[in-house]
């Protein structure tokens, strides 16, 4: 039965997949039938049957490892000896990590704001035009692409060829520079601007999300408000500034915080495009390096916990805004 763990031919893999799904369905069916067949089962048995499997999975997959990682962050690189706050001190004071924190801050500030801005402007511009559906799909499409794929797409845009006679640029951005009579640049190597070129990729991905949510919010603005504003002589930018933006404020907050949370954990883009070299690493990438490359489990755990702590204020703010907007209505 070795193939149950080490499937290596295509047929074995597909069979294994079906076995896994089948096994799972079987277990579920047994639990449910058990609950249903036996007359007069106590209430708690029913509850455990329904909620139990999911809660067990969450406890094992999220709660236990989370607590364990918090503990490990106070231990040394093999998680055997306690070292107090040393890992956190290292993460906040070493020069290399200063760069990592600075980059992460750049990402978390720029990506949500710019992606939301682009998404909002685009949503307003294409709202109720003939091509709305098609125009939205174009901007939304990057959401379906993996960050690895997006990384490759943009790496190709940034591709650099030495500026010599007979060497043609194959990256679009450098070709544009050449057409403008400017020297081609190593966009992914030149510090610190390479960070902005990586950040652009995340904005490219997230603008579609912002656009979709904000577009729905814009369509939900009550007609009478718009009518009244129009009678008062508001048009174009004035309408946008004084009616549209204030009306969708709750949605804006949710979009910005949600993108910020996603951005904090971004790892695939940096890893695919620069590997975190040339001063482009971010906390999530550094976590991976420390944990799996350098095998410094303590420092890796500390970085993961820092990520966790950074997410909390965002989610708290998000939930509070939701509450507030519910109270108002």
């Amino acid at each position: 039965m070795d193939w149950l763990v080490n499937a290596d031919t295509t047929a074995e893999k597909l069979v294994l997949m079906l076995v896994a799904i089948g096994l799972f369905v079987l277990v579920m069916a047994v639990i449910l039938l058990g609950v249903d067949r036996v007359k007069r089962v106590p209430q708690w048995v029913v509850v455990v049957a329904f909620v139990g499997p999911a809660m067990a999975a969450i406890a094992f997959g999220l709660v236990y490892p989370g607590l364990r990682t918090i503990r490990d962050s106070f231990y040394d690189r093999t998680s055997s000896n306690p070292v107090g706050l040393d890992n956190y001190v290292a993460a906040f004071t070493q020069d290399a990590f200063q760069v990592v924190l600075r980059n992460t801050l750049l990402w978390v500030v720029l990506v949500p704001l710019l992606a939301t801005f682009v998404g909002l402007v685009y949503a307003v511009l294409v709202d109720r035009t003939r091509f709305e559906q098609f125009a939205k799909t174009l901007v939304f499409l990057p959401m379906a692409i993996s960050m690895v794929g997006a990384g490759i797409i943009w790496k190709f845009v940034y591709e650099y060829r030495p500026d010599q006679q007979g060497v043609a640029q194959i990256g679009l951005l450098n070709q544009l520079l050449v057409w403008l009579g400017i020297e081609p640049q190593q966009f992914l190597l030149n510090q610190p601007f390479n960070n902005f070129f990586l950040i652009a990729v995340m904005i490219w991905i997230q603008a579609g999300f912002a656009m979709t949510v904000l577009s729905a919010a814009i369509k939900a603005i009550p007609d009478d408000i718009i009518e009244a504003a129009r009678l008062d002589g508001l048009h174009g930018v004035g309408m946008f500034r004084y009616i549209t933006v204030p009306s969708i404020r709750p949605a804006l907050v949710v979009v910005v915080t949600t993108i910020a949370m996603g951005t904090l954990k971004v790892f695939d883009i940096v890893r695919t495009m620069t590997g975190g070299n040339f001063g482009t690493s971010v906390v999530a990438n550094e976590f991976y390096n420390q944990s799996f490359r350098i095998s410094n489990l303590g420092l890796g755990a500390a970085l993961a916990v820092i990520l966790f702590v950074l997410v909390i204020p965002l989610i708290v703010y998000n939930v509070r805004q939701l509450r507030l907007s519910e109270d108002i209505r």
Binding site: L16, Q43, V51, I70, V139, P142, I145, S146, I152, R230
Partner: protein, 321 residues
């Protein structure tokens, strides 16, 4: 007529409605006339050359990078090296060689990884949805002590970044002798998806009219019967929207499979292989471009054909950890 995929009112949670502003106004008839009225009012907006100019520039900016790589993936290797893809119209040489080599070449073998991606993704979508459906049913329709606290706890766990969980989970898998098998990837994806899945499906379930459930109870139906015969049929669209979410998430994931499936040909999915290729052969654009599109084609098809459901899921609350 503009047909923005607004979620039907009855399936949008109150929170999400406020948050996403996805409050579709009223029922079909009124909505249409209202939208029409607005369309008339808004007519002429895009006739402003500035507005349409900016919209077109943004659309082009968002499309050109993907388009460029797509064109490149069909150009012969020599051409890719020697000239930019924008010269394609003047020198239209098309080949499928890049794809053949990427799929079956001994150094790339994307065909194998494609199978791995499929094998990883299907159970990692089916398992969490089933578990979450059961739990969401209990949270929505069974009274029990501590229900609210437990539900809030599940909701709160959405914020746990998966980075926090990786190392301890990996050590457990190693202890059990499962490391580097499909089981660990399935299990991990399923566990990580549960909080969001339970939260979303619970919200959808709460929107089912209580009278339906009461009526079934009066007829003597037990929980299992109510679950399968009353709720499941009504929830199909909600399940579809979460399934697409989870599908895209798992198929496009890098971190989880990198950690648990490693780089082995037996288990690693496409994303891991493509990322590896980008690192080791970063200048072989004929392989990279074809490889990237092999990894993108399935999510793009799913996304384009089921966009409606995806948008609804997005509007119903999206704080994936």
């Amino acid at each position: 007529m503009t047909t923005t995929p607004l979620p039907p009112q009855s399936f949008v949670t109150p929170e999400a409605g406020e948050a996403g502003g996805g409050k579709a106004p009223g029922l079909g008839g009124r909505k249409l006339s209202r939208a029409e009225k607005r369309a008339i009012a808004a007519a002429g907006r895009l006739s402003s050359p500035w507005a349409s100019g900016i919209a077109i520039i943004l659309a082009v900016l968002w499309t050109i990078p993907t388009f460029g790589l797509l064109v490149t993936s069909f150009r012969p290797q020599q051409e890719i090296r020697g000239s930019g893809w924008w010269t394609f119209p003047t020198n239209p040489a098309v080949t499928l060689e890049n794809y053949t080599q990427a799929l079956f070449g001994s150094s790339t073998g994307f065909a194998t990884y494609f199978v791995n991606s499929v094998v990883i993704t299907l159970p990692a979508v089916v398992i969490p949805i089933s578990l979450a459906l059961l739990a969401a049913y209990a949270f929505a329709w069974i009274e029990f002590r501590g229900r609210d606290i437990l539900f809030v706890a599940v909701f709160a766990l959405q914020v746990v970044p998966i980075q926090v969980t990786l190392i301890p989970l990996l050590s457990r898998y190693v202890d059990w002798g499962l490391a580097g098998s499909f089981w660990t990837v399935w299990l991990s994806h399923s566990m990580f998806a549960l909080p969001l899945a339970i939260f979303l499906l619970h919200n959808f379930m709460k929107d089912v009219p209580p009278s339906l459930v009461e009526a079934a109870r009066m007829d003597g139906a037990g929980h299992v019967k109510i679950f399968f015969q009353v709720l499941l049929p009504l929830l199909t669209p909600a399940i579809a929207s979460f399934a697409i979410f989870q599908f895209l998430w798992v198929w496009n994931d890098l971190l989880v499979s990198l950690t648990f499936a490693g780089g082995s040909t037996d288990v690693a999915p496409l994303t891991v292989r493509v990322a590896e290729l980008a690192g080791s052969r970063g200048s072989q654009w004929h392989l990279l471009s074809a490889g990237a599109f092999i990894s993108m084609v399935v999510p793009l098809i799913v996304f384009l054909s089921l966009q409606r459901f995806f948008v609804r899921g997005l509007l119903a609350g999206s704080v994936k950890g």
